[in-house]
């Protein structure tokens, strides 16, 4: 057997100079030859003692049969590869682009544990298989026998779509309710075009619909229809409304013109296509010097969008680069694209001009102190280190909270003090026949964890509705 390559087969990508002039994807995808070459690196591991799956599959929250699909790619059976992936993952073109695999499947990969070796490029291979199928046109899976039971899913993000697809495959009559005019949740309104083209999300949603799932947009549950009404009409409900409420810092001047929440900035650009104004009606106004407050994926997305609008961009983050929660890859890309980083810094107030637009921001410097609850060293402000910086646009990307609309209008649902919905280990809430998962349960989350929740809820709903397990231990007291 030939020696295994140490590094992943590289994926071609747009150069930094090129890509900041367009909104197209950065990595361009594998050719079939590259994919086969990369697939050859896989060791086809077996499950370890006492485990159900090989290490990589254990690491994937939806347990994609990784060795099997990689073997199919290696043998040029690309149709089989995607079929195998879709047994477990209904949104592979999405996860194959934006799943943080370095924390999941690739982290667990046996090959990656060898000295000097990179793990198998599982994410990129997943993307290859999904793109191959999309280019060819989807095979519509055979319709299962309807079982006559109805399930309502609230929210069409990754958690909701996954549960919907899984349940539809089992013969349930599934309706997804979405507040916005387009399905996809963060995939359409949050994650930028250049990381996840909206055409791809649309195609994945078309696939979910082809399984028989109905998606009703413009329906705000709690307002247009209440959860109690859904309980009358449906046998089970899965709440997947995400963590979409933007946090602000509540510092002076935060409501000046030119200061956006990350959600507003991204929604204008992604969902409403403000970058194509006036062809599209929704505008966006961005000055010349943009400060993005925060250090997560959302902050990177905002910064990289602002670069594509031709602006000077500063990431302002309280801790150091080492503590930044964003994916390494995204931080690297942002750096290549010319985003400036200001570490150990945070704004304390904003200063406006006579017309009410932000023109300056006062910041304070920090130093790292003792570790906090998260194990990261706590940033401590340095007295007297305040300084003023000229800035004409600010994007606040310091995290999101759970969307309160459904809990507020459904008082019997038990919530935590952070506003997340409380669930047991099978994602059952305090109200019988209602499950919840994804951002609304986890607070900040990732796509694949949300999808894992969707899968788990679907399994539990099926167990319950098929009569295998009717227990409901988690009841709200009182």
């Amino acid at each position: 057997m030939a020696k295994i390559r140490e590094k992943k087969v590289p994926m071609p990508e747009q150069s930094a100079e090129e890509r900041i002039k367009n909104v197209k994807e950065v990595p361009l995808g594998y050719t079939p030859e590259m994919a086969i070459e990369e697939a050859k690196r896989c060791l086809q591991c077996k499950p370890r003692e006492g485990k159900e799956f090989p290490p990589c599959v254990e690491g994937c929250p939806v347990n994609v049969p990784i060795p099997q699909f990689i073997l199919a790619i290696r043998e040029g059976r690309f149709d089989d590869a995607i079929k195998i992936i879709k047994e477990r993952n209904s949104l592979p073109a999405t996860t194959g682009r934006v799943c943080p695999w370095e924390n999941h499947c690739e982290k667990a990969c046996t090959l990656g544990k060898r000295q000097g070796y990179e793990p198998v490029a599982i994410g990129w291979l997943e993307r290859f298989a999904a793109d191959y199928e999309r280019a060819k046109g989807f095979a519509i899976p055979p319709k299962p026998q309807p079982n006559g039971k109805k399930v309502a899913i609230i929210g069409s993000g990754p958690a909701g779509l996954t549960a919907a697809a899984d349940l539809a495959k089992k013969g349930y009559d599934v309706t997804v309710f979405e507040a916005l005019h387009e399905a996809g949740g963060v995939l359409v309104y949050g994650i930028p075009e250049f990381r996840l083209p909206k055409e791809i999300v649309k195609a994945e949603i078309e696939y979910v619909k082809s399984l028989g799932v109905k998606i009703l947009t413009d329906v705000v549950i709690g307002k247009t229809i209440t959860v109690d009404e859904l309980l009358e009409e449906f046998d089970a409900i899965f709440i997947a409304t995400g963590a979409g409420l933007p946090n602000f810092m509540n510092i002076p001047g935060e409501n000046l013109n030119g200061i956006y929440s990350a959600n507003e900035f991204l929604t204008r650009l992604n969902l409403m296509r403000a970058y194509e104004f006036p062809k599209y009606d929704t505008p966006i106004k961005v000055g010349e010097r943009v400060a993005v407050i925060g250090g997560g994926n959302v902050a990177m997305d905002c910064a990289r969008w602002a670069r594509r609008l031709g602006k000077e961009v500063y990431i302002v983050y309280r801790r150091t680069g080492a503590e930044m929660p964003a994916r390494k890859e995204e931080i690297e890309r942002a750096k290549e694209e010319g985003v400036h980083f200001m570490f150990l810094t945070a704004p304390t107030r904003y200063i406006g001009d006579e017309k009410g637009w932000v023109k300056q921001m006062e910041c304070i410097k920090f130093e790292l102190g003792e570790p906090d609850a998260s194990g990261r060293r706590r940033p401590v402000p340095i007295k007297g280190s305040e300084f003023i910086m000229d800035i004409d646009t600010v994007i606040v990307a310091i995290g999101q909270s759970p969307n309160p609309l459904v809990p507020q209008t459904t008082p019997k649902l038990k919530t935590t003090k952070w506003g997340t919905i409380e669930v047991d280990e099978e994602l059952r809430t305090s109200v019988e026949r209602i499950w919840a998962g994804g951002g609304i349960v986890r607070g900040d989350s990732t796509i694949i964890l949300a999808m894992g929740d969707g899968r788990k809820a679907a399994l539990s709903i099926d167990k319950y509705l098929s009569g295998q397990d009717r227990s409901w231990k988690f009841k709200a007291e009182g």
Partner: protein, 282 residues
């Protein structure tokens, strides 16, 4: 497809009323709430107050004043046309209760917004005094409809072509000075109008409610575009409002924030005029 326009009525030269098929919203909509609509694929999402609902017919009624591209385009639609998206009812319903004597003050298209509340306050047993303001006689809308549910009705026009000559808050002031007593005042109209009403009632400590109209996108609390300051606190008008205690609202901030896109709004309108096809050139 989308949401069918079943009926269109001209209320004034630049204000049109639409009855739209939206059965789910019709079942739920309450006075004080609004919808967000998007006319087509490339359109903006804009908020409009619910003027009426008919659960039996499955329709809702809205009225739009031509302010910029989207409202002009909306008002050019005909019966039988479709609107791509209508979501709602959004926002908190008005707190309709028995207060005693209630003044409902509407300015311009704001008259359409007070209409459902006039009806509801009346039904709740209040003595309702409606005070309507408009630029001139021709721009005055819904006088007959509102009179039907009002115990008293007054009109103010800027040019004096009907009723009191001058701003509507000055008419309210006059009525108060003449000895009329109010337990609650509701004001819906332009930001300067609502601010002036708030300043008029403040010395008399009359509880005053204003329905705020910040720029919105989603209307579900997700974007923070609609933030306003009330009593020094930031609120999201789409979920915490749109109605707030007018004496606590920072109207100047609201005014500044609503001017954020003035330049882009002008460009959108210019571009639209090139293609809208109407003879008057808008």
């Amino acid at each position: 497809m989308g949401y069918l326009i079943v009926k269109k009525v001209d209320l004034a030269p630049t204000i049109k009323k639409f009855e739209i098929q939206a059965p789910l919203i019709a079942k739920k909509g309450k006075p004080g709430q609004f919808v967000i609509l998007r006319i087509d694929e490339k359109g903006e999402r804009i908020p409009l107050a619910l003027m009426d609902t008919s659960p039996e017919k499955g329709t809702i009624t809205i009225a739009a004043l031509e302010a910029g591209k989207t409202t002009k385009k909306l008002n050019s639609l005909k019966e039988g046309d479709y609107i791509a998206n209508v979501a709602g009812p959004l926002g908190k319903p008005a707190e309709i209760a028995y207060y005693g004597k209630v003044a409902c003050v509407g300015g311009g298209v704001g008259i359409a917004c007070i209409y459902p509340e006039v009806k509801a306050f009346k039904k709740a047993g209040n003595y309702v005094v409606s005070i309507l303001g408009a630029r001139n006689k021709d721009a005055l809308i819904l006088k007959k409809e509102i009179a039907e549910f009002s115990d008293e009705i007054y009109v103010a026009t800027y040019d004096g072509s009907e009723g009191f000559h001058g701003f509507v808050h000055l008419l309210l002031k006059k009525l108060i000075e003449e000895g009329k007593h109010f337990d609650l005042v509701l004001a819906v109209g332009s930001i300067p109008m609502m601010k002036s009403v708030a300043e008029t009632t403040r010395p008399y400590k009359i509880k005053t409610i204003a329905s705020l109209n910040p720029i919105m996108i989603d209307g579900t609390g997700m974007c923070g575009c609609c933030r306003v300051e009330v009593g020094g606190e930031t609120k999201f008008a789409c979920v915490d409002g749109p109605e707030f205690d007018a004496h606590l609202v920072d109207f100047d901030l609201l005014m500044t924030r609503n001017r954020r896109y003035i330049e882009e709004e002008r460009i959108a309108l210019e571009e639209y005029k090139k293609v809208c096809g109407c003879k008057e050139g808008c």
